[in-house]
Point group: C2
Chain length 283, copies 2
């Protein structure tokens, strides 16, 4: 595995792959890798001739009061995991190289970014789109892989790719979960033992909603109220949002029907956790 901080070197290696018609699979990450990330790398390894993983803790997607400073970092462990996974190139640029003095160009999506995490975290998706535009231009991948836990992000990236004519296929793979079904996340390391136990309520709320809908409930307000109950029954939780939206447009719906996304963002202690499920509701 090639390991490099150099933007130029990465760009050149990937350009060479392109001119050899080698399919480039790309997994952009912020490090602190877990099984969720590794499932993306594994899939990329299976489908592509050359697998690039980036580790970059992107400062511009964090708000001023968010957790950039304490976000978990463990480069040596990440590097080892990636070597074992058969990735071909690990790109971990420096922030000062990605955003040199005077950096002034941003990419922003203005529709799918409005609600949910976009509302709670102003500027977050602008930071995500900007860094991905940069990484896409450096790596020039054929396929880029994202996890469903970040459903809204993945939809926004798909939109950006379509709008800006990037010739890249975006693939979204299933959320990988702990034994108690908590979605894997680098932020889970923030949780105390008690909080860790309580945090399974996100998934329990989602499954409770699924069950209510299976039984015939079609009013999103009623479902959300019940979900709130599930989350609030845990002591250290604070709900950021619970949403039931159209899975494509991410717009709030008045009646549960079609392909819908049920999505939650909850503070458990200091950790802001997100999770979601997609349902196809026939009638």
């Amino acid at each position: 595995m090639i390991v490099t901080r150099s933007i130029k070197k990465t760009s050149q290696i990937c350009a060479r792959c392109n001119s050899k018609d080698k399919t480039i699979g790309f997994v952009p990450t912020m490090g602190a890798l877990h099984e969720g990330h590794m499932s993306l790398v594994k899939r990329a390894r299976k489908e592509c001739g050359f697998v690039v993983v980036s580790i970059f803790l992107n400062p511009i997607q964090f708000g001023p009061s968010e957790d950039l400073a304490r976000y978990p970092r463990n480069f040596k462990k990440d590097e080892k995991l990636l070597k074992a996974s058969g990735a071909d190139l690990l790109f971990y640029p420096e922030a000062s190289a990605m955003y040199p003095q005077g950096f002034s160009t941003y990419v922003e999506e203005f529709d799918l970014s409005k609600e949910l995490c976009g509302k709670s975290r102003p500027g977050h998706f602008r930071g995500v789109c900007t860094v991905l535009a940069k990484l896409f231009n450096i790596v020039k991948p054929d396929i880029a892989y994202f996890g469903q836990k970040d459903y809204q992000q993945t939809q926004i990236v798909k939109k950006m790719v379509r709008d800006l004519n990037y010739d890249i296929r975006i693939k979204m793979l299933s959320t990988i979960r702990e034994k108690d079904k908590l979605a894997m996340s680098s932020r889970n390391t923030y949780l105390s033992l008690k909080e860790r136990k309580e945090s399974s309520c996100l998934y329990r709320a989602l499954i409770f909603a699924k069950e209510l809908i299976r039984k015939g409930e079609r009013d999103p307000k009623k479902v959300i109220a019940k979900m709130r109950g599930v989350v609030k029954s845990e002591k250290t939780t604070k709900i950021d949002y619970i949403g039931i939206v159209n899975a494509d447009s991410l717009e709030r719906i008045n009646k549960i029907k079609g392909r819908i996304l049920i999505t939650v963002a909850v503070y458990v202690g200091k950790a802001r956790l997100i999770d979601n499920i997609v349902l196809h509701v026939k009638k």
Copy 2:
């Protein structure tokens, strides 16, 4: 010369050139081609293995009260000129293909875009950056060519390319001028005979400034005042701005020194014309 409206076809042809290591030279235009454009195509032909010219009247770079509707169009003549020039591919996409319903992603540069034309034409450079990001992703050029008449635009594009890590060299070629030194522009066709005659005052003002500076004047305010006099001596002119700025940062300067840009934007009748010169002022 391949002539196509298809984004997909253009993207595929250009990808094939890349995988054959054929250098792609790209000249993005809004059509109504004149000698200025053709000098760019000629240079691209000289320097590159494959020359792509785009003709796209980009709606999102025009303000609501600007001249999109009456902007000159002459596709048949343009096509003929390009065929004769030896261009390899003419790409002229439809607006509905470039901006389909629900388009929602924009690229914006926030530093060099603030002043001069950026101030007079809010949203203009956002439209320029967005369409060029799209065209760059479709054409994947090695070199893209711009004219010095659009100096600010070219600087912004250079900044965008650097900030977003596009692997593209931006070349700025000299402004091509009419006999009376009026900078060539598709918008010159708006001018009546009388206005056409008066419009040479833009260049006369620039040269007057150059002469003042040669004689030792170092106060931009005084130079600008004299330039105003030159432009105002013509009846149908209305000054949008006259600026003397650092040629790299595009910031206003208090003392004329170093590499400076002297730039003018003037309404002559209904036509908004721009022009500029760059000077190296040693001391």
